[in-house]
Structures are given as C-alpha cells and as structure tokens.
C-alpha cells in the first residue's frame, strides 16, 4: 500500500519540498491550538483575579483602580464566612467516610478472589457515571420517601456516594502497582502481619490515599450539583452560596470570592505536588 503523500525512501533524499512546507504549516496549526488551549486554561482565572481588585461597584474590564474593598466586604459577611466553615466541615466528613469505605473496598477488589468480583467493581464505581444532579435528586426523593430531610448528613452522604469511585479507583491503581514481594520480604524478615500491613502495604499506598483525600475534599468543597438538592438550608455550603451570589449579585465581591477559591486550588496543588508529584496525579 502506497499513499500519495508517503514518499518511498529513495536513498538519502529527504521528503519533497512541498511536504516540508505542509509539515511546517501543519505543526504551526498544532502548536497554535496548543497555545490557545493553554490560554483558555489560564486566562479566565487571571481575569477573575484582576476584576476582584476593581474600584467600581460593578464588573468592568479593564478593572479601574486597585482596592481590597471587595475582600474586606467578603469577610464582613457573616453568611459567607459561615458557609465556608460549613463547607469545610462537610468536606472533612465526606472525605473521612469516603476513605474509610474506599480503602478496604479497593483491597478487596484488587486482591480478593471471589465470584462476581467484576460485578462488584462495576457497582462500586457506578456512581461516577451518574451526574451529580441525578444523585442529588434521587437522594432528595428517597429522603421524601422515608422522611429523611435535607441536612448536613444528607449532603455528606450524597457527596460520599459521588466521590467514592474516585477514591476507590485511585487506591486500586496504586495497589495494582504494588510489588507483592515487598510484603513477603517483610514477613520473611520476621515482621508480624500487622506490622507488614502498616509499614509496608499501607505505607506504599499513602500517596494514593493522600491524592484521594485531596480530590474528595476539593470535590466536596466545590460541589454544587449534589449540594443544590441535599444541603440543609440552615447550613448552606459555599458552593451553593456562590451559585446564588453569581445569580443575584453583580458586585465584584463575587470575583473576590472566586479569587480566593483559585488561591486555595493552587495551595492544594502545591501540597500535592510536594507530597506525591504532579506527574503521578495526572494518571
């Protein structure tokens, strides 16, 4: 099979001149698209941060003047501060529960030998395929059915369902990479099984657990789709508060709040980068 633009190798001669130009043009387009993608990833955050310092009472670009007024305004609003604390509390709970469920489940799914394991694995990661809104609505209906009302607990449960697959998959991936010889080595060196488990097995999957915790935490903190239907009105998470602000309030304070969330994301990423490395996170 010989295609028109694949020149057969003729001695030391390179590809035809036309194809050199096609190459240059083609790769110019590819690099341009890559650059545009980078721009698309960074520009919105930069613009939001810039806007948050404007002196005008409305959003305008380019921002005018420079003021921290909107940040001050943000912290003076008890409701926003309270909702941030609520989000923190909710996220810690759902992170804890998700990990307590996910780590043993991952062990069973990677190392267990029993019929129906494939099915069990599919069940545990199933919520990942369901949009957060559907999970939220289902919980809301289910709650109406059994008189279980919207509350912190319902929100925590909803977020845990939503986040469990991420945690399980991260831990499973790490477990599959583990060299079983390490555990045997530990045993042959006279360590007890508990010691082997804690010092070798568990220690080796700590990066996955840290990454899992970070992702569940951030997802719980930022989640709106589940929260909209399950959160208690008494203690509304920050994401719902922010959603309302975006719709009801056109003041640059919203930009200030968004900027703080962007800052938080960078801090978390820094911590993750230091603990387990970003390259591993990508997988």
């Amino acid at each position: 099979m010989m295609d028109a633009d694949v020149a057969p190798a003729r001695g030391a001669r390179g590809p035809a001149l036309a194809s050199v130009w096609a190459d240059r043009l083609g790769f110019f387009v590819i690099w341009t698209l890559a650059g545009f993608a980078l721009l698309l990833l960074i520009a919105p955050s930069l613009i939001v941060v810039m806007i948050s310092f404007t002196e005008t009472a409305y959003i305008t670009f380019p921002p005018q003047g420079f003021t921290f007024e909107w940040y001050a305004d943000l912290f003076s609003r008890q409701q926003i501060v309270e909702s941030a604390v609520t989000s923190l509390r909710i996220s810690l709970w759902s992170t804890t529960i998700a990990l307590l469920l996910a780590v043993p489940a991952a062990f069973s799914l990677v190392r267990g030998r029993y019929p129906g394991k494939t099915f069990a694995g599919a069940l545990i990661v199933a919520p990942q395929m369901i949009p957060g809104m559907v999970i939220g609505v289902a919980l809301l209906f289910f709650g109406a059915y059994i008189s279980f009302r919207q509350s912190d607990l319902m929100l925590v449960l909803g977020l845990t369902v939503f986040c469990l697959p991420f945690a399980v998959r991260l831990v499973m991936a790490q477990l599959q990479l583990l060299n079983p010889a390490l555990e045997e080595a530990s045993l042959s060196l006279g360590a007890t099984k508990k010691r082997t488990f804690v010092q070798i097995t568990l220690r080796q999957i700590v990066p996955a657990i840290v990454a899992g915790a970070a992702f569940v935490f951030i997802e719980s903190f930022d989640n709106l789709t589940v929260a909209l239907f399950t959160a208690s009105p008494r203690a509304r998470p920050l994401a719902v508060e922010l959603y309302n602000l975006v719709q009801f309030d056109s003041s640059p304070m919203v930009a200030a709040l968004s900027s703080l969330e962007i800052l938080l994301a960078f801090v978390v990423m820094l911590v993750l980068g230091r603990t387990i490395g970003l390259e591993r996170l990508a997988k």
């Binding site: 009472a57 109406a144 919207q150 602000l245 911590v271």
Partner: protein, 346 residues
C-alpha cells in the same frame, strides 16, 4: 512535605474538633430562618434580623437569599418538616402557597403593629401573613443604548429597541406580570394570554432566567430595555450604572409582597416577632429609603424624595397602578412555565 505520624495526628485532631464544634454550640441557640432577597435588596431584612438578635438573647436570624421557587421545592421535599420559618411571597406564589398549605393563617391578635397597616392591604393577604412591602414592575432601560426613553408598555415594540429587549422567564412573578400586562394592552386578559405570547415572540427577546439575571443583562448592556422590578433598577442606578426606570403608561404593575409563617415553623413566637417587625415604622422607613425604594404598607411613613422615580408618588400615579387577577394566572402556572420554553427555546 514529609508526612510524619505526629503531624498527621495533630491534623486529625484539629480536623475532628472543627467538625464537632458547631454541634455543641448549636444546642442552646434559638434560630429563625427567613427566606430573603438576593444581593443588596436583602439589607432591610438583615437590619431587622440584627435588631431581633440584639433584643432576644441566643437568637440567630438566618436569611436565605432565594427566588422563592426552589424554596417551595425544598419545603415540598421536606413534607411538613419545613426547614424554614417565614417567607415573603409575591401575590402569585402566595396564592399557590395557600392552596398547597405551605403557609399558615395569621392570628392578628398576636401582632402589636396590626393597626399600623394600610387597611386596604389586608384583604390581599387572604388572611395569611402580613403585607410587607410592594414593588412595581415597570420598564428599565440602559441610557447609553437608548436615544428615546420608553414611556409606555407598547414602547417595548418600538423599532429603536429591535432585538434589544429582554424579558424574564414566566417562572418568576416578573415574567408572569410582563405576560399579563402584555395580554391586557393587546386585547387579551388573564384568561386569554395567547395575544401576549404572540406579541412577546414578535420582540425576539433575550430571556433572563430570573429578575436578577435580567437586571444583570441590562447592566452589562446585553439588552437596552426590559420590564423590571423598580428595586432592581434602583440598586443598579445606585452603583453608578446608566440604568433608568420608568412607570410606563397606562401604569406599572404593583405586586404586594406578603410575609408569612411557613407551615411547621419551629418557634411561632419568633415568627410573629419577625412579622411584627416587618410592619413596624422603623423597618418600613428603611425599606422605603435609598437604594431599595420598596413601597410601604403602613400608614404615616413618608416616601423619600429620591424614591420618586421608583414609587407611585402622586394620587394619580397610585390610581394608575395596574393589578392582575393572579388567581387566574396561578391556576395554569406550570403550563405557563413550559409554554415559555416552547415559545422561546433558542
């Protein structure tokens, strides 16, 4: 960063105390949860909440900013265990709430300020809740984009504003009001809305999901003219944006907002304190002032001069206020919401 056992333990301890703390504190608190408006319009409620918090020890007043629609969904889901205590409703949702039993009948004897209220407002509450404030639906426009300001409802169809008119979805009172008003001036009525749909479609309008979003669209200059609440227009103008409000001929639509006790409220006494506060002179004076310009419902509170463009200020203007037979509208509200998608889905 290296994870040591000690740092892990410390973090875990700190985290768990953070998690546990609010439960301990909350045990001795009294709480009043009130649905409120979003953004700056919430301020009068905030002021009243702060006042009550000063007067009653251990009380926390929480304001939940929301378009009342999703609140009703939550109350419905809660099945009689409403998480909220009081809510203000415009006339249409007020009627729905009465029909569906979400709000409670008022016991006038428990209100100190009962006699304060302009008597004409009481019948509109149908015996549920207190008349809180009223607002006007008029036309708002962006000065930078409009050469000749609109003066009547029919001006929305002016050539000059072609493709620059915004309207609100019929899920909100604003949208319903716009629809009803359009029907009236083009030969329809509350029971015959078809002319209104046809005329609105003629506008090729840009739709806003909620009144606040419609206001933002006007602020950003995406649209030049839109039927809007006087309060939203006032707040935008106050920020220095080129937004102006007109009371269009034959007159703006006035909608009363009723503050009611929600079925299943935990502390009725507190709710009555709140409702009493709403019809107090102090609260009404604040709500009527810049930049909110809510219409007052009590006697003897002066409307400030600056409110003139936003509220009916002369007897003629009061006489011109348009009313809508909401009972007819709310019967078909679900259909109207869906109809909006059928007509305007882009």
């Amino acid at each position: 960063m290296k994870l040591t056992r000690r740092s892990f333990t410390t973090t875990a301890l700190a985290a768990s105390s953070l998690v546990a703390a609010p439960t301990i504190v909350r045990a001795q608190e009294k709480e009043l949860i009130v649905i409120s408006y979003g953004g700056a319009l919430q301020e009068p409620h905030r002021w009243l909440g702060d006042k009550l918090q000063r007067e009653i020890p251990n009380l926390t007043v929480r304001l939940v900013p929301s378009e009342s629609q999703d609140i009703v969904a939550q109350i419905k889901a809660a099945q009689g265990f409403s998480p909220y205590d009081a809510m203000p409703n415009g006339e249409p949702p007020h009627l729905i709430a009465i029909r569906d039993g979400y709000i409670q009948k008022l016991d006038p004897t428990r209100l100190e300020n009962y006699d304060n209220v302009v008597p004409e407002f009481w019948p509109k509450t149908q015996g549920y809740g207190v008349p809180a404030t009223f607002s006007l639906i008029g036309l708002a426009y962006n000065e930078e984009m409009v050469d000749t300001p609109p003066t009547s409802w029919a001006d929305m169809w002016n050539e000059e504003y072609a493709d620059m008119v915004g309207i609100c979805r019929t899920s909100s009172n604003l949208g319903l009001g716009t629809l009803a008003m359009t029907a009236k001036i083009f030969g329809g009525s509350e029971t015959d809305l078809d002319p209104a749909w046809a005329k609105l479609k003629e506008l090729n309008p840009l739709a806003g999901r909620s009144p606040r979003i419609l206001a933002q669209m006007l602020e950003r200059g995406e649209i030049a003219v839109a039927p809007l609440w006087n309060n939203d227009a006032a707040v935008a103008a106050e920020k220095g944006l080129p937004i102006k409000f007109v009371k269009p001929d034959p007159g703006p639509v006035a909608i009363l907002s009723v503050m009611s006790e929600i079925t299943g409220a935990r502390d009725t006494e507190l709710v009555y304190r709140w409702m009493d506060g709403i019809i107090s002179d102090d609260y009404q004076e604040l709500a009527a002032a810049a930049p909110y310009y809510f219409g007052v419902t009590v006697q003897g509170v002066d409307v400030p001069e600056a409110a003139r463009p936003y509220t009916p200020s002369t007897p003629e203007e009061v006489a011109a206020l348009q009313t809508v037979d909401w009972a007819e509208i709310v019967k078909v509200r679900p259909e109207l919401v869906e109809r909006f998608d059928r007509e305007f889905a882009t």
